[in-house]
Symmetry: C2
Subunit: 316 residues, 2 copies
């Protein structure tokens, strides 16, 4: 189970290692997004992504016996970097199975932390990670379908409630659902009236489809620019939390994600991953209800982005 | 004369028009810059530059009679955009004389505000602006050598003292000296022990040279990437203020400005002009003294930057 108190415990556990990232008011975006715009800048987090929170909260609770043959994970990049950071901190070897088309900046950062990378076709990463885990007798840290990981991610929710207690709405990028589970549990545990929305790529709308079927289903993973959220299926532990606590998960069309990448960089002057900008895309698309007098926090999940890609999008 | 009370009056005058930009804590930069890093994000200001403050504070005090033949200014770009904004607000035609090599993004933004642009060789812009002003019988708004302009820029100093009252040091980009005059007057007027430093391009070190000569002198304008600070000579009204109130003006070598541009974008995840990043360059260069326990605000003067240039610098 995921509880508010587990998230508070994670906050204490993580305090020496993670940054308290700023909530930034970006007034220049108000006119375009028709609300009072704030961002939670986890792109400025250590390892430049929120994923350090969950990976480290998990790893710090594992016994030396569990860790003795190393850690394996499957990741689109940022969780892998989080686990690599944890492995380095604890002196444990790490193997990250990641899609061959992941951004170079994410691969380089994982290698810099001393972890081994195994590249594969994106749909195969969990299968291959499972095989390697068994071969090595290693410990697997799941990127989202894990209560300790979710509790770690939830600590960003506690911070937002401390930094902007009067917030009306929070919009969070959704992949497997670990981040939004943690944040919704933290935020609604503190004040139930805050609205928490998820944004997922329309090209990979696993929550939208799973809600229709009332159970986690597998969807095709389309070629979205939001590379951090290319997960084919909601986590089994995440699904009921997202269903019960998140107000809505909004599928965002690719062209609005592109628009949002441009907007955030050119008007907001912030460099974040397309998966992060997607939260602004949900508003640009007109499917996320906001009002001029509402304080809305857009959760910027990461900043590990190849600059050439951003420049390409901005030229469109 | 420039006084603290004139700056407080400017703050009231400007309140309906300018943003209160955030002071952002960027912990990810602490290890590299060896202090507690904050930025004053005027790159997120309306028109994406602090220049709106000074230009508007001046224009709002001019009589309809003075304004009846329009406004002319000479600018590397951002002041021109500030004056263009003021002209549009007041319904007055504006002509901006600017260097032909100014970034496209700055030219486009000025045209978008309905102002006329006259391009020229960079050293000729004041001469040509003066001629056009006389031809039109227009009103000239100087980019820095003007007490009302300085008072407007100083309002950013008042904000920093409200936003981070315990700040130890503030580092400000220096061109003609209007911004640093305003900020030093505001900051030292509130708390004299705060250190205020200027950073100027070594390729255009008009304050460093003028201090040696004890009067404003003309220096050659080298080809610096800090395009917002290519002024050949300190303003006559600015010089004594900078001399008396600014703790030191540091010439920053080009390679450290380049390093700082990369650092701010890749590690700080903030897009700002090279003129802004120059403030971080002063620390990278080792000539601005800071300590691990000191809270230092780096003043990000603007965000009007051609993305292709940034990508080029990041690839170096």
């Amino acid at each position: 189970m995921l509880t508010l108190s587990a998230i508070y415990e994670a906050q204490k556990r993580l305090a020496p290692y993670v940054y308290r990232t700023p909530v930034i008011r970006i007034q220049a975006l108000d006119e375009v997004l028709h609300c009072q715009v704030y961002v939670k800048a986890e792109n400025m987090q250590r390892i430049h992504a929120f994923k350090i929170r969950g990976a480290l909260n998990k790893a710090l609770q594992l016994s030396p016996e569990t860790l003795k043959n190393g850690i394996v994970t499957a990741s689109s990049g940022n969780h892998g970097r989080g686990v690599a950071f944890a492995g380095k901190l604890l002196g444990v070897p790490v193997t990250v199975v990641m899609p061959e088309h992941a951004p170079e900046v994410k691969k380089a950062a994982i290698r810099d932390l001393g972890a081994e990378i195994v590249l594969c076709e994106k749909s195969q990463r969990f299968v291959i990670a499972d095989r390697i885990t068994k071969e090595k007798g290693a410990c697997f840290i799941h990127p989202f379908d894990d209560y300790d990981v979710m509790a770690g991610q939830g600590t960003a929710g506690l911070e937002m409630m401390e930094q902007l207690p009067e917030v009306d709405k929070i919009v969070v990028p959704v992949g497997g659902g670990g981040l939004v589970s943690g944040i919704a549990t933290a935020v609604k545990g503190i004040r139930d009236s805050v609205r928490v929305y998820g944004a997922e790529p329309a090209l990979c709308d696993r929550y939208t489809e799973s809600f229709k079927k009332k159970e986690p289903v597998l969807v095709p993973v389309g070629d979205t620019i939001a590379d951090g959220t290319m997960t084919a299926r909601p986590g089994d532990k995440n699904f009921p939390i997202v269903r019960d606590k998140v107000d809505r998960v909004i599928p965002v069309e690719e062209r609005f994600i592109h628009q949002a990448v441009k907007l955030l960089l050119q008007e907001g002057k912030i460099l974040a991953e397309p998966s992060s900008s997607m939260t602004l895309g949900a508003v640009l698309q007109g499917t996320l209800p906001v009002a001029e007098d509402e304080k809305v926090i857009f959760f910027l999940s990461g900043g590990n982005v190849d600059l050439s890609m951003i420049e390409k999008v901005c030229k469109e």
